[in-house]
Amino acid sequence: MQATTMNFTIEPITHDSVVIRIGKALDFRNAADFKAGAQEQVRSGVRNFILDFTETGILDSTGLGSIFSLYRQVSPMSGQVVFASVSRPVQVVVQLTRTYKVFRQFPTVEAARDAIR
């Protein structure tokens, strides 16, 4: 069953993995919603997050900070945060901040699903 927050759709794929479809923007306007939605998932036992950036035109510093926050939360529990279908604007942020060193990237959500199983 899908859950939709303000701009995000959260789709469970296994008992401990979800896909979060980021939508048009993850920035200072909705980063708190992202964080709250992700934290709720962690509380319910989710450890692996695939972030789908297919539609995303804006990822700013606050949005990236909210992803770092999620990473800090799940990595001690052997959880993962991975990026899928990264749009060009998001790729530019990833390149600028060298976050490809931290978050594995996959060309599609399906490829990410296969990799984290």
Binding site: I58, S61, G65
Partner: protein, 150 residues
């Protein structure tokens, strides 16, 4: 694309207005004749970070906010001047503080550093009429990097 000036007065919608503008330029190919796609995204990110900082932190006291943005394409660079009528703040000091406070996987405090890293040239000053003025350039020939501790 010729030099263009845009004005904004409503902080509650300025981010939406800015991105609508960039989307319009993208549809028209207005900036693409001068710059590659990634440089345009980098330029858009720099503008976004500065205006986001204004929206979240700037003090306008009783004044109606006024923000203007001049975009000046120049070969493989784009120059941008953003002026506003806020009180301003000590940017260099703030950048130093943010640099020193940057922790591994920071949640906050990256915005100005990201803007600084994305730009080739960057200057913040007060204009003769008392407005705050940020001028920067973004270049297609640079490989900018913000060193975040991981």
């Amino acid at each position: 694309m010729e030099t263009t000036r845009q004005s904004f007065k409503r902080l509650d919608v300025v981010i939406d207005d800015l991105h609508s503008l960039f989307e319009e330029w993208e549809r028209e190919g207005a900036l693409l004749s001068h710059l590659d796609e990634d440089t345009i995204h980098l330029f858009r990110l720099a503008v976004h970070e500065w205006v986001a900082n204004l929206v979240q932190h700037a003090r306008f006291d009783e004044r109606v906010p006024e923000v203007t943005m001049d975009v000046i394409p120049n070969g493989r660079r784009v120059r941008c001047i953003i002026e506003d009528n806020s009180n301003g703040f000590p940017l260099d000091e703030r950048l130093d503080t943010q640099r020193q406070a940057l922790k591994p996987f920071p949640e906050r405090g990256m915005g100005l550093l990201m803007l600084n890293a994305a730009t080739e040239y960057f200057e913040y000053s007060e204009s003769k009429d008392g407005r705050q003025r940020l001028e920067f350039t973004v270049s297609a020939d640079s490989d900018p990097c913000l060193n975040i501790p991981f």
